[in-house]
């Protein structure tokens, strides 16, 4: 296994004809955790969804490659099989499909026919990951996200991350709506993944998640592009001083995507 590489170059993304991401470039290698931060309405979640192939977003320009392969030509499931993972901000609820059945289908989708994961091995793995995330056993037999609280949904996203072991994971506001204990548990899960064969892109509004998951690089997004990059100290400064100093530095009056077009 070699360290994975996700390369985003000059990415432009539109929704319903309106451009949200306007020339964004970013490169993530195995062993690295990147954080993309920014105020509301600057295109953070659009970036996450577009990379995974969300049906509402249209990529109008630029390229995304994973280990040299063109991600943008792949269907959503092919992106996942290539090693991409998105922990979603608002995961869907699927009635009648148990968490366990869903996860087994997901794992087996990556495997060749006849080489499916054995039931015992699957259960052992699921039990150990659920224990790591302080999840009650009953979660495996509950319907996928149905009736889950906000915090339970986030934990369930991280459970999927740990079970599927992707090459590159994008975590879209995985910290929103979590209390501090849940935040610690979720962070423990992500830190458990850290290794040279795994890269992470954490999209967040707040710095507090980064107290538990130390990023290697921090990027600030405004008006649909990355306007500043730095190390973990950048996140700390944002926490202490907010975003205004960056706006002043760059002469940005309104950081959102909307305002610039109006």
């Amino acid at each position: 296994m070699t360290a994975p590489n996700l390369k985003i170059e000059n990415l432009h993304v539109s929704i319903e004809g309106k451009e949200i991401i306007k020339g964004l470039s970013l490169e993530i290698n195995g062993g690295e955790i990147h954080a993309v931060m920014g105020p509301n309405g600057t295109g953070k979640s659009t970036l996450a969804s577009a990379l995974m192939g969300h049906p509402k977003y249209v990529i109008t320009e630029g390229s995304v490659t994973l280990d040299g392969e063109n991600v943008l030509e792949m269907e959503v499931d092919e992106r996942a099989k290539a090693g991409l993972f998105l922990a979603m901000q608002y995961p869907s609820e699927i009635s009648g499909v148990t968490n366990a059945d869903f996860l087994r289908s997901s794992i087996n989708a990556r495997r060749e026919e006849g080489k499916e994961i054995s039931l015992m091995k699957f259960i052992r793995k699921m039990d150990s990951k659920m224990e790591l995330l302080d999840m009650d056993e009953s979660f495996s037999q509950r319907y996928l996200n149905e009736g889950f609280s906000g915090g339970e949904k986030k934990r369930n996203e991280i459970l999927q991350l740990l079970m599927l072991e992707p090459k590159i994971a994008i975590l879209d506001e995985i910290d929103s709506g979590l209390d501090i204990d849940a935040l610690k548990v979720v962070s423990k899960g992500v830190n458990d993944m850290r290794n040279p064969e795994f890269g992470g892109l954490i999209i967040t509004h707040y710095q507090r998640l980064l107290n538990y998951i130390t990023p290697d690089k921090v990027h600030v997004i405004m008006q649909g592009r990355i306007v500043k990059s730095g190390g973990p100290e950048l996140a700390q400064r944002l926490e202490a001083e907010g975003y205004d100093w960056i706006k002043d530095e760059l002469g940005i009056e309104d950081e959102t995507v909307q305002a610039e077009q109006a």
Partner: protein, 439 residues
């Protein structure tokens, strides 16, 4: 004398019915009921399913009787029947009917000792004539409701009788398999279930015929009587081939504190009219109706799920989920009728239709008819397509589009599949769903 059905005619007259009854050594009351049915069939109108035109459906082209052999040992049954009754963990008590011939029956000594009767309808009317007469098309359904009900009585050729005496609680399910081996064979099947006071029983039935387009007719009635504080769980999987036109009426009557719970997997490939009505007569009575169906090809179906409530504090729960594909068309009418005096009655209903094709049609109509003020009632209905965001979510984990659709459909139909009390039947329904949704 002949009976006109739409424009075509049915070639069964009084002497045919007379002979048919005589050959089966039936008691006078049944012969008379048949003859009355035949007479009524001339004058009564066809049923009028709301929003479904049945003028050009086949109700006349069929072979009334196609003889089939009995089965000596259960292992002589074909594999797909054996699977239903459980290959390893076999259901203890089951009946297999082949075309309209009772072919195999198994009932445990324990249940016989407790006074439970479980037998084919022809035997039942001979051996338990008085008991059957008391209920047969007498308490729950009536011969003069419409032409198909009248014809049902006239041409009755199959069915089972299940009697559970007072205070007898049966844990293991009893099962019927109605196997239409020959495609042209008609089925006028009558299931009569009597659960006396404080008894409880689970009954599961399977209807199946084979995949030809040869035309035939099924006219099926199930009467379920739940006495005071009795509980009946009734599961069914209907799986007739394309050529079979089906009229199926499953009706319940529930006395004080009694319960009927229906779980119906309606998987016919041919045109179907289905009426599932429960009458909550006694105070504190309860009905729970769960149905799933799939429409495919160019089939047309009309489903009524209905609960009529007279009992105070009676409670009705109705749930219908359906998947529609190709150019199939289905109408779902969920009807809650609460009569004056049924104070503190409750009724909840949900109808959901998942459309997989632009050309399919699915209508969900919740109807509340309430003549009492002091009640609670709710309804929800939706007709929608596969949610693209759900699909995105599932596919983002590596699951293919086809597999994701399959998961969503299975999940959508799970509320009924999971209710079926026999593992073999549950599995079979899952397989049928699988076969239908993956072209």
């Amino acid at each position: 004398m002949s009976v006109e059905m739409n424009d075509a005619k049915i070639a069964f007259d009084q002497s045919y019915v007379n002979n048919f009854s005589n050959q089966r050594n039936e008691p006078e009351w049944l012969k008379n009921l048949r003859l009355r049915g035949l007479e009524l069939a001339e004058s009564l109108p066809m049923p009028k399913p709301e929003k479904t035109k049945i003028d050009n459906w086949n109700f006349t082209n069929f072979q009334h009787e196609v003889k089939a052999a009995e089965i000596e040992k259960v292992d002589d049954l074909p594999d797909y029947i054996l699977k239903l009754v459980g290959k390893e963990e076999r259901t203890d008590n089951f009946i297999v009917q082949r075309n309209s011939t009772p072919a195999y029956l198994q009932l445990s000594q324990d249940l016989k000792d407790k006074g439970v009767i479980f037998t084919d309808i022809a035997t039942a009317v001979r051996e338990h004539s008085d008991l059957v007469e008391k209920y047969f098309m007498n308490r729950v359904v009536k011969v003069d409701e419409h032409r198909l009900m009248a014809l049902h009585a006239a041409l009755l050729n199959g069915g089972v009788f299940l009697y559970v005496p007072k205070n007898v609680e049966i844990d293991a399910p009893l099962q019927s398999v109605f196997w239409q081996e020959d495609a042209e064979a008609s089925l006028f099947n009558h299931v009569l279930i009597i659960a006396e006071d404080n008894s409880s029983v689970t009954y599961v039935e399977n209807y199946l015929s084979h995949g030809t387009e040869e035309e035939s007719v099924a006219n099926i009635v199930a009467e379920v009587y739940a006495g005071p504080n009795a509980r009946v769980q009734f599961g069914a999987v209907d799986n007739f081939a394309k050529g079979m036109t089906t009229y199926v009426n499953r009706r319940g009557h529930v006395e004080r504190d009694g319960k009927i719970e229906w779980a119906l997997g309606q998987m016919n490939d041919g045109n179907t009219i289905s009426d599932n009505t429960t009458n909550l007569v006694g105070d504190g009575s309860y009905a729970d109706t769960k149905t799933v169906s799939i429409g495919r090809g160019d089939q047309k179906q009309n489903f009524v799920i209905r609960v009529n409530q007279w009992g105070k504090q009676s409670d009705a729960q109705l749930l219908a989920h359906a998947v529609m594909k190709d150019s199939a068309s289905s109408i779902f009418n969920g009807i809650a009728k609460i009569e004056q005096g049924a104070t503190k009655a409750n009724s909840e209903q949900t109808e959901r239709v998942l459309m997989l094709s632009e050309k399919a049609r699915g209508d969900a109509n919740p109807i509340l008819l309430i003549d009492e003020d002091d009640v609670t009632a709710g309804h929800a209905a939706s007709v929608g397509r596969m949610d693209p965001i759900q699909m995105f979510y599932l596919m983002s984990r590596g699951i293919s589009k086809e597999e994701a659709e399959r998961l969503v459909i299975h999940g959508f139909l799970a509320p009924v599949v999971n209710e079926l009390p026999i593992e073999g039947v549950k599995k079979m329904l899952s397989e049928v769903i699988e076969g239908k949704v993956t072209k």
